[in-house]
């Protein structure tokens, strides 16, 4: 780097020793590295936390921060031993056997005790005398043995408190659970059902309009362009009520209950995407070389031929940009889906599903983290694989 500075500035080089500014530049560079690293970490860690958490064991997730995912966490628990009826007689002694963890076996018992105040009275493998007679021994794997010389007669099982360790464990269980038990899979399909047609339908319509606004001469052209630019920023909130009334009116005319169908939302998204589509494509098409158009005109080609034969194929990058925008925007939309598709369980898209999970399972972070990741994984794939087109569209759409 320093060499570049030298040749570019054309300054006389110092003849002896290390130039003083070299040290200064290095310090500045290190500062740049550190500052950027800090900012990038700040921007990445919330998503990283979500992803790591969604892959953790749900018991661990509930008791320790995701940054401790690689260390063993400990948890306290309590279980009630069975009544006297569970005893068996073996070798002249009376025994009650079982496991304090029940079916759940990814825990390791560290200590146990007989009262809430002393959950760590004895270490695993040791014995504690019981008030109902005999002694209780609990092993590391949670298996316990309550042995007494006399027959058990208690009618209420005593409680055993314990401290257990949970070894770090990563699992896809949370994903299996949200996809099978919580209707997230259905919403996943619904999101695709909404998004794909809503992305494809506006493209051709916008392309024809954009070409007309870029290369054809006709009255009111300037006015239409101005309206499109204005509609770019009109809040969606302005459209919702009249459209809802209109849809309901049409639905009633056909005898349906309300207008909340996939067709309603496809058409709504198509229309809401059009201003950006026309604006982006028009800017792009207007930038195509004038000479090609004119020579084609002189050769007698009609606007229709020029558009379908030349402009449309040449506009591929802009079409790709818009498609990505529209895909991300429709996939991530909540408001339009809630208004035009409704909050019915079987019609919820992923964003709506996630909101409903936030309400009903607000403290089940294993459900929320896995559910959230399912909703963001598709846009992330689209984004990282097609980032180039996305950035290009962004630049064309806002800076002119």
């Amino acid at each position: 780097m320093t060499a570049v500075v030298d040749t570019a500035t054309d300054l006389p080089r110092p003849t002896t020793g290390t130039p003083r500014w070299a040290a200064r530049i290095d310090a500045a560079r290190i500062f740049t590295h550190v500052a950027l690293l800090f900012l990038v970490a700040l921007w990445t860690f919330p998503t990283a936390g979500l992803l790591i958490s969604s892959l953790r064991d749900k018991d661990q997730l509930a008791v320790s921060g995701w940054w401790t995912a690689l260390s063993t966490s400990s948890t306290q628990g309590v279980t009630r031993l069975p009544q006297a009826g569970a005893q068996i007689e073996a070798g002249g002694k009376f025994v009650i056997r079982g496991n304090v963890f029940g079916e759940d076996t990814n825990k390791t018992l560290a200590q146990f005790g007989l009262s809430n105040a002393e959950p760590a009275a004895a270490a695993a493998g040791e014995s504690l005398p019981m008030t109902d007679g005999g002694a209780l021994t609990v092993q590391r794997d949670g298996a316990y043995e309550w042995v007494s010389d006399t027959r058990f007669t208690h009618t209420r099982g005593p409680r055993v408190f314990y401290v257990a360790e949970i070894a770090p464990r990563f699992t896809l269980d949370n994903y299996v659970e949200v996809l099978t038990a919580n209707g997230v899979f259905r919403s996943f399909i619904n999101s695709f059902t909404v998004t794909i047609p809503a992305t494809i339908i506006p493209i051709l319509m916008a392309a024809f309009a954009a070409y007309a606004l870029a290369w054809m001469r006709f009255p009111f052209r300037g006015l239409i362009v101005a309206v499109v630019v204005g509609l770019l920023v009109v809040p969606l909130q302005m459209s919702l009520i009249p459209l809802l009334k209109m849809y309901n009116g049409i639905a009633q005319a056909f005898g349906a209950e309300d207008g909340k169908t996939y067709l309603s939302i496809w058409l709504a998204h198509t229309a809401f995407g059009l201003p950006l589509a026309i604006y982006l494509l028009r800017n792009y098409m207007a930038g195509l070389p004038k000479e090609i158009m004119e020579s084609a005109r002189i050769d007698g080609a009609s606007h229709f031929k020029i558009f379908t034969g030349m402009v449309l194929p040449l506009s591929f990058p802009a079409l790709a940009s818009f498609s990505i925008f529209q895909f991300l925007w429709v996939w991530n939309d909540l408001l339009v889906a809630m208004v035009f598709l409704g909050a019915q369980e079987s019609k919820l898209v992923l964003t709506g599903k996630l909101v409903s999970l936030l309400g009903s399972r607000g403290n089940n972070w294993e459900i929320l983290t896995a559910g959230a990741f399912v909703t963001i994984v598709v846009p992330l794939i689209v984004f990282f694989s097609l980032q180039r087109y996305f950035v290009r569209g962004l630049l064309a759409g806002s800076v002119k």
Partner: protein, 338 residues
């Protein structure tokens, strides 16, 4: 299962019909135009007349479907919402009563106050972070990776981002182990954990953080491109004159890209005015976090008062209006230079 298959099948059919329909319309209408106003058989004046007529009609054939959609779904609703804002729940004309109600309503005032706060904080911080990251990243070999990571939240839905940050703000009672990063840091410093989302003003700021986190990537990409347009000679000259990094940043880079900064700022401002999902998912306006868009949604779909809902929508629209006019004038100026 079968209804899922039916649904997928329905979507595929819809795509096919829509594509076939648009293709048929464009090709068909052009074919008809050329057939009935073709110039093969005509001569002289008639030919010129037909040529003119054709070139007068064709643009409108190209524009028709798009204009139809824009009129039905955007232009008409804007006018209709404006009209509805003067009517009550039962469609009786009430003049400015809805507006008077709004300005006297405590929740509305709260929304206005919060929206102003959002407008002051989000665009400025998002733009500032975006600019700083763009400048830093352009100097380093791993800058593109850094930019990709900062840009990533742009792809995440507002609801997804809300869950991500709700996890950061998670609260457990003092003494329990905190699983939210923010409270873990706070307790690590020896302070008591807080239920952040329920503490007024701070909770609004924490919701704003979510939008800043999303929008900084947008600002960064646009500003990074603008910075590349700053002539290298200018920067070189400043360096020779002994200007340090900060002087170059404030005295040369910022003035050079000022136009772009304003564009980024206004774009984010519009996003802020429309922000709905974050508040809806995180607090639904509780604990003094209400904003206009969520307030409007409540009047529309909880109280089913389309008049008052429309009034709030119109007020959002009025806030957007200056930027809209500015955009249109800028686009018109652009048109003039082409």
């Amino acid at each position: 299962m079968s209804d899922i298959l039916q649904q997928i099948f329905g979507a595929l059919i819809a795509i096919a019909i829509a594509l076939a329909g648009t293709v048929a319309y464009f090709w068909g209408s052009n074919w008809l135009l050329d057939k009935f106003l073709g110039s093969n058989t005509a001569t002289g004046d008639d030919l010129t007349r037909r040529d003119n007529r054709r070139s007068q009609i064709r643009p409108w054939l190209f524009l028709l479907p798009a204009l139809l959609f824009l009129s039905v779904y955007l232009v008409y609703p804007v006018i209709e919402t404006f009209r509805l804002s003067f009517f009550d729940k039962n469609e009786n004309f009430v003049g400015f009563a809805n507006y008077l109600w709004a300005f006297g309503d405590g929740n509305f005032q709260q929304s206005i106050f919060n929206n102003i706060l959002w407008l002051l904080i989000v665009p400025s911080f998002a733009t500032a972070f975006g600019l700083v990251i763009a400048v830093l990243a352009d100097k380093l070999w791993w800058g593109n990776i850094a930019k990709s990571l900062v840009f990533m939240p742009m792809a995440i839905s507002f609801v997804g981002a809300s869950v991500i940050w709700k996890f950061v703000y998670d609260y457990r009672a003092a003494g329990e182990q905190q699983i939210g990063v923010l409270n873990a840091i706070v307790t690590g410093l020896g302070l008591p954990p807080q239920a952040w989302i329920t503490i007024p003003v701070w909770n609004s700021v924490l919701l704003m953080v979510i939008l800043i986190w999303i929008q900084a990537g947008f600002a960064m990409v646009i500003l990074s491109a603008a910075l590349r347009g700053v002539p290298e000679e200018t920067l070189e000259a400043a360096r020779i004159d002994g200007a340090n990094g900060f002087r170059i940043f404030f005295d040369i880079m910022i003035p050079q890209i000022w136009g772009t900064i304003v564009v980024v700022w206004t774009t984010i401002t519009i996003v802020v005015l429309k922000v709905f999902d974050i508040i809806f998912a995180m607090t639904n306006g509780q604990w003094d976090t209400e904003v206009l868009a969520n307030f409007m949604f409540k009047w529309m779909f909880v109280n089913f008062d389309y008049g008052r809902g429309s009034t709030v929508a119109v007020i959002i629209m009025l806030a957007v209006l200056p930027i809209m006019i500015w955009n249109i004038r800028r686009a018109n100026a652009e048109e003039g230079t082409r």
